[in-house]
Amino acid sequence: MKHSTKSSNRLVQWIDDRLPIFSYAEANVIAYPTPKNLNYWWNFGSIAGIILVIMLVTGIFLAMNYQPNADVAFASVERIVRDVNYGWLLRYLHMNGASMFFIIVYIHMFRGMYFGSYKAPREILWMVGVVIYLAMMATAFMGYVLPWGQMSFWGATVITNLFSAIPVIGDYIVVWIWGGFSVDMPTINRFFVWHYLLPMILVMLVVVHLWALHVHKSNNPLGIDIKTPQDLMPFHPFYTIKDLFGLGIFMIFFLFFVFFYPNFFGEPDNYIPANPMVTPPHILPEWYFLPFYAILRAVPDKLGGVIAMFAGVLILFVLPWLDTSKVRSAAFRPIFKQLFWIFVADCLFLGWLGARPAEGIYLVLSRLATGYYFFHFMVLLPLVGKLEKPKPLPSSIFEEVSKNCRTKED
């Protein structure tokens, strides 16, 4: 494939002829053809990418002062907050950044579900996204262990013990993960290594995600294919400026927590140093795992609960094939649109239940909400796709955009 840059600068041309970074950037960032009608829900991908960078940079600088050693880890984190110059800022950016990353990615995922972004020809794009989500969860979990507070320690104990549910070899696997007979010195050391390594893999997965994205370009709120160049406009300056504006709003939200409520998303118990002899009375994972935690506890069987919990995430891989409708956007699917919002409510409800004690009415509700979660994917989605009568689709993005513009001008 022959690349050529528009630049008339001789040095740029010389470099581009040998390493086409300039023509690549022009094709994929500047002139990159993007549907004209993207709304603000399409900001969340770029925001997620920027938080990933913030997490990497704060993480690298935190690692310069953190000690992955069970004896001193807790104290080293407190030292970062109290003694290291701006250590409080680095830590709170990183801590709250994790929550922000999940908020943004959850919105990004629900955006994909609402507008059918996972449907052909973007199935692999979606699946790479699910792999990114899994890598994020693993990274976040291991990061939460590193401060070595009570929640870190008991969170690590409970989550690693999930693997003991595997028949026959489960106990060996858990000992192998721990590097001992309990969560201890070898565990924190290796978790630190994984916590540092996985984000690098995450960056590579993001590159693959973008690669797949740029093959068929972004989906759009109408969910219809790009038909003519009139449906498109260059990414720069239109979407760079739209993304920057959204980023500004997001940063206000993010920094509000960092500066005023830095421990809002955390648990007070994690400021008690890890004690392998005492489990806190009410332990729960970070908020972004709560829906899956509720699913785990809803099943009255150890192996069954673990399978249900993992299935809750892994079912996303087959979502493109569970949804039988050819129409992408929920805007043209009256029944699906309502089911989508019920599903969102069910996920939030599961999250709320995950933070309640596993007893009485909460357990009953958890079972109902878990049942509905899988019912949505395995029964409603395949069935509604067949039974629903979608609204007529617009003939092109261009026509719809022009119509809206005329209405606004009137």
Partner: protein, 182 residues
């Protein structure tokens, strides 16, 4: 009109767009530069490191002619209880022959105690000469084995590649035989 946004873009007057582009870019660069400072400063010495930056030493056990080495900010500090001859030879020097001219009186608070950071000013090795049997170079002070710098009994550079005298750390006598370095 929306039929071709790139065309409408060209119709807008250039200077206004340039102003917006340049001011946005300037603000962005300034923001990133300011945000970079906490990261850069975070790897400077932390408060606990600075808090451990002074060292107390009891000199009462150091006999005349002996030397001790204490650690201050992770580096060795040479404390030599100088003999009368060493004091005399340090004082009796022609300033013109010194590479980094300083009188002995400027380098000590009490003539019998020479206190200097024991790190060669060339490339950071520790010169020998603290023990009686050590090689001390031609001026009876210290000799750096790495690249052959020789220091006199006042810790001043006399020969070899090092550019400066052994630095004198800030210190104070709290009483006749106790000092605080730093």
């Amino acid at each position: 009109m929306t039929d071709n946004p790139t065309n409408t873009l060209k119709e807008v007057d250039g200077p206004r767009r340039d102003f917006l582009l340049i001011s946005t870019t300037t603000l962005g660069v300034a923001g990133v530069a300011i945000a970079a400072w906490p990261f850069i400063h975070s790897i400077n010495p932390a408060k606990d490191v600075l808090a451990l930056a002074s060292t107390e030493v009891d000199l009462s056990a150091v006999e005349v002619g002996q030397a001790i080495t204490v650690m201050w900010r992770g580096k060795p500090v040479f404390i030599r209880h100088r003999t009368e001859e060493e004091i005399a030879s340090a004082a009796d020097v022609d300033m013109a022959e010194l590479r980094d001219p300083q009188t002995d009186a400027e380098r000590v608070q009490k003539p019998e105690w020479l206190i200097a950071v024991g790190v060669c000013t060339h490339l950071g090795c520790i010169p020998s000469g603290q023990n009686l049997g050590d090689k001390r170079g031609d001026w009876g002070g210290w000799f750096c084995p790495c690249h052959g710098s020789a220091y006199d009994t006042s810790g001043r550079i006399r020969k070899g590649p090092a550019p400066f005298n052994l630095p004198v750390p800030p210190y104070a006598f709290t009483d006749d035989t106790n000092i605080v370095i730093g």
